[in-house]
């Protein structure tokens, strides 16, 4: 009977309906469905459908974001049940995300977070105007694989370099890959600060992140 939920789960993601996705996740938990199965046979199918439509040009950015958020809502409900069962969904990597200190530009960074999260990364979004020390602390705390740093100003872009230096000083540079982004970021800058990757948009960021964790 619970398999009837799968198409509905997929559809809730396609519709970008966070409320419906959360409700279906709750239903799955109550009916004893394995959360991992709910994800892989239900919700992820929806994410893939929207992703494919986007790639073909039939779906647009808001639909992608809404699908990502609906997915997040479903996972939030399923997460405690997975912990209870001692299972975990397979994640591609742990990402600490932040807009660097002195910079309050949020949307690009948030978009990247939503896209990464919908693509199977565990994302820790620290928000905007985040000091390098705080980023470092979070990296250590969650044992991050990736750090994503956003900056929209040439004056704050230098903080991307500062974070890399801090990681280096702590001896974490080899283990933790750093990707950067933001309107003023160019390939030259990326090479200059010796970051590991960058993307000009949120869609591209997913490909870069996957490549950096060897999941591409």
């Amino acid at each position: 009977m619970s398999t009837e939920l799968f198409p509905k789960m997929s559809q809730s993601i396609i519709d970008g309906d966070s409320d419906a996705a959360a409700a279906l996740a709750q239903q799955a938990v109550e009916s004893g469905l394995d959360p991992l199965e709910a994800i892989s046979k239900g919700f992820v199918i929806g994410v893939n459908t929207v992703g494919e439509a986007f790639a073909k040009g039939d779906a647009f950015l808001p639909e992608l974001v809404m699908a990502g958020e609906a997915m997040k809502a479903a996972i939030a409900v399923l997460e405690p049940e997975m912990q209870k069962r001692g299972t975990a969904r397979q994640i591609l990597g742990k990402v600490v995300l932040a807009t660097v200190e002195g910079d309050i530009h949020e949307i690009g960074k948030t978009l990247v977070g939503t896209m990464l999260s919908a693509s199977g990364f565990q994302v820790y979004d620290l928000g905007v105007d985040v000091p390098s020390a705080k980023i470092l602390a979070k990296v250590k705390e969650v044992d991050a694989d990736l750090v994503g740093l956003s900056a929209l100003l040439t004056t704050t872009m230098v903080k991307q370099k500062e974070v890399i230096d801090v990681l280096d000083k702590e001896g974490l540079r080899k283990k933790v890959k750093v990707m950067v982004g933001g309107a003023p970021v160019t390939r030259d800058w990326v090479q200059k600060i010796e970051a590991d990757g960058y993307s000009e948009d949120a869609i591209g960021a997913v490909a870069v992140a996957k490549q950096l964790v060897g999941a591409a």
């Binding site: 808001p62 949307i107 948030t110 160019t186 591209g204």
Partner: protein, 482 residues
């Protein structure tokens, strides 16, 4: 099946390029020209008509001088609106002052080959290929003969061209390439065959004719005879002036407008005297000649202003207007083509010209480019969207959504966004990609536009013309050749 035709309607943008007082002044100047200077009508039939209505006719010079009231009364007979009909009635075009339709440009003599890109002489195959792509393209409302079928005999070339378009598209066909009595007679017969007889054609004109004037202040004899035949058959007919500042008209814009206006309204008055109530249209593609070469220039501020001004004149006479827009002088699809075609088309659209001519030609309407054709369609789409203006109401003010997002959030995941996002313009050929993606390919609008034309040509199957009708059209053409 082709997609529904895109037209500009119920616009929110307006422009007053001439005040009513200025329009009246140009009108009065025009009447003075027709009365005192005269317009040349080198056709016996036309001169006889003028004479019978009391105009002064100089038989030797073939110049007609007419009193203002004769012209004004004649023009009052012209219908204010009518419909250009298509083989597929869902593609009919109402010329009612509230629609702007785009046609293909004409009549080019060379083509940038769709496969090789090489420049070569145009042929009948090009006419049919372009018609087929235009049939599938929603921005294109009707056909002009886009290029000359130079592989066909000159005496029936114009007929092969319209036949080929009818065979490859269900949209309305207007030809600017039939300008003598013999071919006009055959073209009308062909249109009748498709419509199902002369009466049916009168009710549903599947063909319209555009004749060029011979500026300054002249007409072409063959064109006059063809126009009179068309008017008699109830086929919409227009006279187009291309009087250009410096060469065929005064260097001043107002004077040039008066010269062009005299040519057009004298021609239209003739048709109304002969066949009162015949559907006619005002047509113009006025510009300034280049100060260095003397060449006619499609594009430039004068061209843009004329586009809007002539609309004011056509509105004053209350008849539909066909206006030359696009028609860049650029040698390839480039910066100049983008500017000239955007500006001229915007000015023609913002003043609500009924017909725009047209997409696809470079180098002053000489060289056909499939990429330019598609990019011109995108220019029209951009203007189409712009003309819709800004709708202000509770739904579009979106206060609930603004409150839900609050300071610092984003609107990407709002239901209101999902509902309205498809109302935002999505370009086909504008490069909005990340820099890296461009850098890795270095392609642009021209490549994508050409690819789109190629794909359309390969895939689009127009609703065919009944083979029996095709054979009948062929027979009519053969009769002319004999």
């Amino acid at each position: 099946m082709s997609k529904p035709i895109k037209s500009i309607t119920n616009p929110k943008l307006r422009l007053e390029v001439l005040t009513p007082e200025e329009v009246r002044k140009i009108h009065e100047a025009t009447l003075w020209i027709i009365e005192h200077v005269g317009v040349r009508f080198p056709s016996k039939r036309a001169l006889d008509i003028w004479q019978s209505f009391g105009a002064s006719v100089d038989a030797e010079k073939m110049i007609v001088r007419a009193k203002p009231h004769l012209i004004e009364e004649a023009l009052k007979q012209a219908p204010a609106s009518y419909v250009l009909c298509a083989r597929d009635p869902s593609q009919d075009l109402p010329l009612d002052g509230n629609h702007v339709f785009v046609g293909t440009d004409g009549c080019g003599v060379e083509v940038l080959d769709i496969e090789t890109g090489a420049r070569r002489a145009s042929s009948l195959r090009d006419v049919s290929d372009i018609a087929r792509i235009a049939d599938a393209t929603p921005e294109i409302g009707f056909h002009w003969v886009p290029v000359s079928a130079q592989d066909m005999p000159p005496e029936t070339r114009g007929l092969h061209e319209v036949k080929s378009i009818w065979e490859n598209s269900t949209k309305h066909v207007q030809t600017e390439s039939i300008y003598n009595e013999r071919e006009a007679r055959a073209a009308i017969e062909m249109a009748s065959a498709i419509a199902g007889g002369r009466d049916a054609l009168r009710k549903r004109p599947l063909l319209s004719l555009m004749q060029c004037t011979a500026p300054p202040l002249g007409q072409d004899g063959g064109s006059l005879d063809a126009a009179l035949l068309a008017a008699e058959a109830g086929i919409p007919t227009g006279f187009m002036t291309m009087a250009a500042c410096l060469t065929t008209g005064p260097a001043t814009l107002a004077g040039n407008l008066a010269v062009g206006n005299a040519e057009v309204i004298a021609g239209l008055a003739l048709l109304q005297l002969a066949y009162p109530g015949a559907p006619v249209f005002y047509a113009a593609a006025q510009a300034a000649a280049d100060l260095r070469t003397g060449a006619y220039t499609g594009g430039g501020p004068e061209d843009f202003l004329f586009g809007a001004a002539q609309n004011a004149l056509a509105d004053f006479y209350n008849i539909p207007l066909s206006i030359g827009s696009f028609a860049t002088g650029a040698k390839e699809p480039n910066w100049q083509a983008g500017i000239e075609n955007s500006m001229s088309t915007f000015m023609a659209c913002v003043s609500m010209s009924d017909m725009l001519l047209g997409v696809g030609l470079l180098h002053g309407s000489r060289i056909w480019s499939y990429a330019q054709m598609m990019m011109d369609c995108e220019i029209f789409s951009i203007i189409h969207k712009t003309m819709q203006g800004i709708v202000v109401d509770d739904e579009t003010l979106a206060l609930d959504t603004i409150a839900a997002v609050g300071p610092g959030g984003n609107f990407l995941s709002q239901k209101h966004t999902l509902k309205h996002m498809r109302g935002l313009f999505l370009p086909q050929f504008m490069d909005r990609r990340p820099y890296n993606e461009w850098e890795s390919k270095k392609d642009d609008a021209r490549d994508w536009a050409l690819a789109k034309a190629r794909k359309t040509l390969a895939e689009h199957q127009p609703d065919p013309l009944d083979p029996k009708l095709s054979a009948e059209l062929e027979k009519i053409i053969e009769q002319v050749s004999k």
